[in-house]
Amino acid sequence: MAEDKKMFKVKIDNISVEVEPGTTILNAARLIGGEVVPPAMCYYSKLEGSGGKCRTCLVKVTKGSEADPRPMPKLVASCRTTVMDGMEVANITSPEVLDARKGVVEFLLLNHPLDCPICDQAGECHLQDLSYEHGADATRYEFKRRTFDKVDLGDKIKLHMTRCILCYRCVFTADQLTEKREHGVLGRGDAAEIGTYIKQSLDNDFIGNVIDVCPVGALTDNTFRFKNRVWFLKPVDAHRNCSNPKCCGKVVLWMRGDEVFRVTARKDKYGEVENFICDECRFEKKEKSDWTIEGPRKIDRHSVISQGHYVNTVKPKDALVEVLDGRQPKLLFDIHSESQVNRPEIDLSKIDGPAHSDDFIIKKS
């Protein structure tokens, strides 16, 4: 039965791929992989009904199908548009798409606080990646940004609505994974917020997964908040026999030495959770002895998390030394000859309080 199933031929950025009918353009592009995959902030393949909201995955359909070759009049959300036979799609080859995407990134960052230096999500944040790849260097927004108070959704989850981009992923997660959904989107327009309406905790066996699906730092793990930066931790695959029948027990431990800082589900290269894990695994089991360690997790090389975790890597060749016939490059000037401040004989620990240029002048005289 599966053999005689008709496959649809799709061309994305002039690369052909054959997919099953009913596949979305985004998933077809993921089959090709690489640069042609549109970014997705709200689409989540594990959550039914997600997608279509962030508009970062907009693509241009230059040919509707073999039967109806007309192009689609507007850019379409590739995560929710299914392919037709003979469809031709332009993603990175269309300047219109890139322009629209740049606009969407600007809109997403409009009210985003850009507090990455103090955000726990930094380093594994999709919005960071997106703005790095598609954003402009500066915003044109000159007004006060929208802010919300931080809310504790129970003692394990912190909601920082200011950072939220309203992708609705956590709402779908709570809806589809847990027995009762206690939070949703309140308000409308740019006053819309994720909330529980009457402030109450989210306590469900699987509610911790909202932290994993959140593309930004809006939902963070209270047991991990401000404990460490993700790129200082070493991700390790581990598993345990979880008593919860719905939980697979396969996780990633984020360790430093023998200390387990946090536990998350395993994510694929699109940042999507492979298997959802229960709250007991996530929040309660923070001892190395709770887990059977499988080995270091492979993290995509370009990710900041992979910093310092690679062994036996070859350093890129430094061409400059070769060009200089083996001599090391000469510094333009020696800082100590230029600045009194950096003279090595001044012992900063002897100075009361923060150092000031006056301290150096007094010592000198």
Binding site: G52, K53, F107, F143, V185, G189
Partner: protein, 452 residues
């Protein structure tokens, strides 16, 4: 006098009630449809009539009806969109207040043609008193055997329910309306699937405007071939126009779509000219979402033809020099009106009414409002005008539902046609707080920035 089809009996005292409505030829169309025409006959007549959706988009109704999926054993629904929230539009309100039975009869015929046994009227929350009028009319009709089980002995059943909205503009968008009707948050759905395939409770659904459904009654009464003789070209029949703004006689007018815009504004039969003998500056011909047109482009198209009150003529020249008939909310502005302020008002409205589901509309509408606010209150910069243009360009077409477009178009048109007024606001921040720019004298269209 222009011929009327919808409001021809609106002046009769007591037409709101069944007895008067019936004795003045009411429910004859329903009788004809159910007893002689049959569902396919009704559909044929509507197709022949060339009736176009009166809610704004102007999509041919007959075609919309023929798209509805008809799987076995799945109920179909007809939903009447009475969520008339477009600023400047109040035609449906008049129709429902004065001749509710016309709508009920239209619903009966349309449901019969579509094979729907339940019909919903989704009415905006602000029309707090109209559900009572409608429910009274429904009760009367049910008493007389026009609704309920086995109507006229044909074996056809129909129930009409009135559902009040909670006052959100976005719920006038058909998929958001369906979501709201289902009791959910009124977020527009992502299309496809279209409501004709998966609509209300995932069943095939047709959503039509009040005026469209009411217009089915005269179509059945006089026949599609006769209806097509009203109007011009593809704009057949009559259209209700709710005229407001600086005119002598604001109100709801039924026009045959063969009169010129000039006649509509200045004749005594309709708007009666500009108030206080002022001069016409600009006009928004189809509700707040459609592009504003300056006087010189409103009365004559860019080709020099007289602009008519039809779908085609008002759209002539595209968005560069044209506009849209839209929902028929005709807003007239005289020389004392400030375009910047007017645009700010609309931008504020769309910011307030954005559902917040997709990012360009959620963030962009608020941004446009803030930039316009700065310009209006003398704190604008010259670069703000280009910024506004760029924001609207990035919202338009990139959103889930047409609200993003509706928010972008007024801003785009205002900058396109009245750029010098915006520049005057920026250059004369103090003076612009004291007086208005006055009437526009410039040649039109002004060259638009590259990439527009």
């Amino acid at each position: 006098m222009g011929r009327k089809l919808l409001l021809d009996k609106a002046h009769i005292e007591g037409i709101r009630y069944y007895d008067t409505y019936r004795s003045n030829g009411g429910y004859t169309a329903a009788e004809k449809a159910l007893k002689t025409l049959g569902p396919d006959g009704v559909l044929d007549e509507v197709k022949k009539s060339g009736l176009r959706g009166r809610g704004g988009a102007g999509f041919p109704t007959g075609m919309k009806w023929s798209f509805i999926a008809k799987p076995e054993g799945v109920p179909r629904y007809l939903v009447c969109n009475a969520d008339e929230s477009e600023p400047g539009t109040f035609k449906d309100r008049y129709l429902m207040e004065h001749i509710p039975h016309l709508l009920i009869e239209g619903l009966l015929i349309s449901s019969f043609a579509l094979g729907a046994n339940s019909c919903y009227i989704y009415i905006r929350g602000e029309y707090a008193w109209i559900p009572e009028i409608l429910e009274q009319a429904i009760a009367e009709a049910k008493n007389k055997g026009w609704l309920g089980k086995n109507i006229l002995g044909t074996g056809y059943d129909l129930e009409i329910y009135v559902q009040r909205g909670a006052g959100a503009y976005i719920c006038g968008e058909e998929t958001a309306l369906i979501e709201s009707l289902e009791g959910k948050r009124g977020n527009p759905r992502i299309k496809p699937p279209f409501p004709a395939v998966k609509g209300l409770w995932q069943c095939p659904t047709v959503v039509n405007n009040v005026e469209t459904l009411a217009a089915v009654v005269p179509i059945i009464n006089i026949g599609g071939d006769e209806y097509i003789k009203f109007g011009t070209g593809k704009s057949t029949g009559t259209k209700l126009i709710s005229a407001c703004g600086n005119i002598n006689k604001p109100g709801v007018y039924e026009i045959e779509m063969n009169i010129s815009v000039e006649e509509f504004i200045f004749s005594d039969e309709y708007c009666g000219g500009i108030k206080n003998n002022k001069r016409l500056k600009a006009c928004i011909p189809g509700g707040s979402s459609v592009p504003v047109l300056p006087a010189n482009l409103l009365l004559k198209t860019a080709k020099g033809e007289t602009r008519m009150m039809t779908y085609e003529s008002l759209a002539d020249g595209g968005f560069a020099t044209g506009s849209m008939l839209g929902s028929g909310g005709f807003i007239v502005m005289d020389e004392d009106q400030c375009i910047v302020r007017n645009t700010l008002t609309f931008a504020r409205f769309y910011h307030h009414e954005s559902c917040g589901q997709c990012s360009p509309c959620r963030e962009g509408t608020g941004w446009m409002k803030k930039v316009l606010h700065n310009i209006e209150y003398g704190k604008g910069k010259m670069s703000d005008i280009d910024l506004l243009w760029d924001i609207q360009r990035k919202i338009e077409g990139n959103t889930i539902c047409p609200l993003g477009d509706a928010a972008a178009w007024p801003v785009a048109a205002a900058i396109r046609h009245f750029r010098d007024e915006f520049e005057w606001h920026v250059l004369n921040p103090d003076e612009s707080q004291k007086r208005n720019y006055g009437i526009a004298h410039y040649a039109d269209p002004i060259p638009v920035p590259a990439g527009a």
